[in-house]
Amino acid sequence: MKFLLRGGFALLTAITYCAQAETEKLTIYTYSSFVSDWGPGPAVKKAFERDCNCELDFVGLEDGAALLSRLQLEGRHSKADIILGLDTNLTTEAAATGLLAPHGLNIDELDLSIDWTDDVFLPYDYGHFAFVYDSEALAVVPGSLEALVQDTSGPQLIIQDPRTSTPGLGLLLWIRVVFGDDAPLAWSQLAPRILTVTAGWSTAYGLFLEGEAPLVLSYTTSPAYHRHVEGTDRYRAAAFSEGHYAQIEVAAKLADSPHQALADRFLVFMLSPAFQDLIPTTNWMFPAGRTSQPLPDAFTGLVQPTRTLLIEPEQVAAHRRAWVREWLEVLGR
């Protein structure tokens, strides 16, 4: 009830504000695959603009991790109102910039499908990282991360740069969880088979689909796209026995944004079925909020991780730079 009241009040303020001004523009920084034509961007824009009498402007950066450095780069003069696409590995550092504002919503009333306690960030989808392979090109599928790393005659793979890409960072942390302090050694064993390191997920996946390599770092849910849209079972995720690293993607609003009310409204919208319904079939992840329909059939039979791996955000924040430097050094040899 309180949620409805608050939400209603925010809505009213937003409407009045919108009515007074000319079409207000809400600028959202996100990653490029979100705003592409086959991503959630266009549909989200249409759905939000229908009711708000405003204009939604997406700015696509290479990938999620680039959002953090762009935030730091632009500082208080950033044109962004909302930043959408960081994940829990980066939330501590992002909050530490002091540029983000609390969302002010009561989490208990948000009906999220995951446990959530943060008061600055709100989750909008989640998933697990996995290596996706082309079943027509790969005969022997690695059954664990260890197997992948230690098989020196194994297949080539495409990964993303942990400095710009959240999957890239996820892999870095995944290897750190599995191998602990032997992570540099693991990377040095893997390095010869890395075909290329791309800046963003889209480039990597695009290269994979072009047949440049039989393995790519992606999500357990990526095959759902090919099943649903293309009707093929050719691309599958490899299940690893150690477990898979999890990703919860979040959004937050900027404290210096002049459109606070509109931003609040968007965050509410983000957790509503209007937005969440689009997630499975455009972003190909699991929705974090309420949906009005069940998941499509393509989502059945996907790889279910035996364990969910996740490092505490504070720990990540404390060691990320050092781990990335280490990674740079190993791969740079």
């Binding site: 450095s69 780069l73 290329t196």
Partner: protein
Amino acid sequence: MARSPGPLTRKFYAIARISWPGVVSALFLLLLIGATFTVLLIGSGPIRLINDLGKDPYLRQVVGFTLWQASLSTLLSIGMAIPVARAFARQSSFPGRRLVLQLLGLPVVTPVIVAVLGIIAVYGQSGILRDGLQLLGLSWSGRFYGLTGILVAHVFFNFPLSVRMLLPAWDRIPSENWRLAAQLGMNSRQLFRWLEWPALTSVLPGTAAVVFLLCFSSFAVVLVLGGGPSATTIEVAIYQALRFEFDPPRAAALALGQLGICTALVLGLHHWIRAQSISRGLASGARYRPDVDQSIHRSFDLAVIGLTSTFVALPLGAIVYAGCTGPLSSVLLDSRLWAAAGRSVGIALAAAAVALSLAVGLLVTSRHLVFQLRRRTESDVLQIAGSITLAVPPMVTGTGLFLLLLPLGIAFDLAVLVIILVNATLVLPYMMRTVGPAFLDAGHRYDRLCRQLGMSGWYRLRLADWPIIRRPLGFAVALCATLSVGDMGVAALFDTSGAITLPVLLYHRLGAYRFDEAAVTALALIVLCAVVFLVVDRGIGRWHS
């Protein structure tokens, strides 16, 4: 008695009146470079640099790789260029010779990002070359991204350039030497050893120096084809330090390192670089050679030339083909494409105008120093000032300006202005080297006459110089504008939602792996470059005042 200025004061005013253009230009450049230097030094750059180089092996690897790939690229480009240049020199007339030589001039003016796209289309993992080899039953499973890809791209740009720079060497061989060699009965190998190689040694160091510097400061090629930390050059590392990691001190340290090495290289090689000019003349005077009639040499030479033409034409052709057969309507009707194109052209014309003003200022004063004050050294200083960007790469200047404006919060607002300034310094050497000789020529011919008639300043430029320099100037401005349209260096650094240029848009499309859209965008970029070049060249060159 009226106080009239003494002779010394009058002399000072006289000199100042005529020299002010050069002084202004030089001061402007000094200010720009000085600001860059200061910013880089102040941000604890040097301490951090020395610290990092000592402690961080990654930085050492980056510097090492940069030097390594530049050396390999230079060796390959020059090595391949020698037999090809020889083939051109030997076959002084065959149908299409001029056309092929002009084809070799294309890579220099092609936007880097477009050429890279073409190279991927031909040599990439799923490119034409692999398909062709597969048809023949062969396969090559080497990795394309990384050193291989970078080398292929660098050779694509610099090998044709080297051929054009080496070719004039043959003109230095006196025709009597050829006749003497014929009398002595020398065969082809001996001709090379005794006649051609000595002539080559006069142009080889300069060519190698220029190619090395170009490859050392290469950015877009490494950004796209590098494929990971093991193949990163200093300039790409600067870009990543700013945009990926948000580590301004590290970016400053790297920029300082790049600046230091480039300056050292330019100072060390300047003797050879000065001799090199971007000459248009590719004399094809038919020279008597004893080995020119033998059919075996002719077949070999024509084969070599044919392979070279294919090598150059294939990536460009692949892009044009992919572009023409791609989703033309959806890409061309996208307003973002036209916005980016308009921005690119605007920036290019502004940059060319700034570079032209700077160049004219430097050249006018330089000429005055040479002819009237007999001060050759000061004039050389001015000319060197125009080539400052060989020592101070545009990425470094851009980084410096970026770091300067960042704390003021206007870095992205002034993005367009900064890109214009940096692009102006990028194209300034080309402007100087193309317009300079014509300016001096006008001076040689008419300096005394102009002084006698009291023609100076604007009158002189308009009546005496303009008709002589008009054609080279038109070409220079067109060339510089085209280079700026296709440049993707500083524009990538300042890449922000409001101010994308067309090459950066292409880079985004490439990153999103929308290959067919990228191909159409690339085609649009090529057409834009061609249009800009033709319009400016014809417009200025043939314009009747």
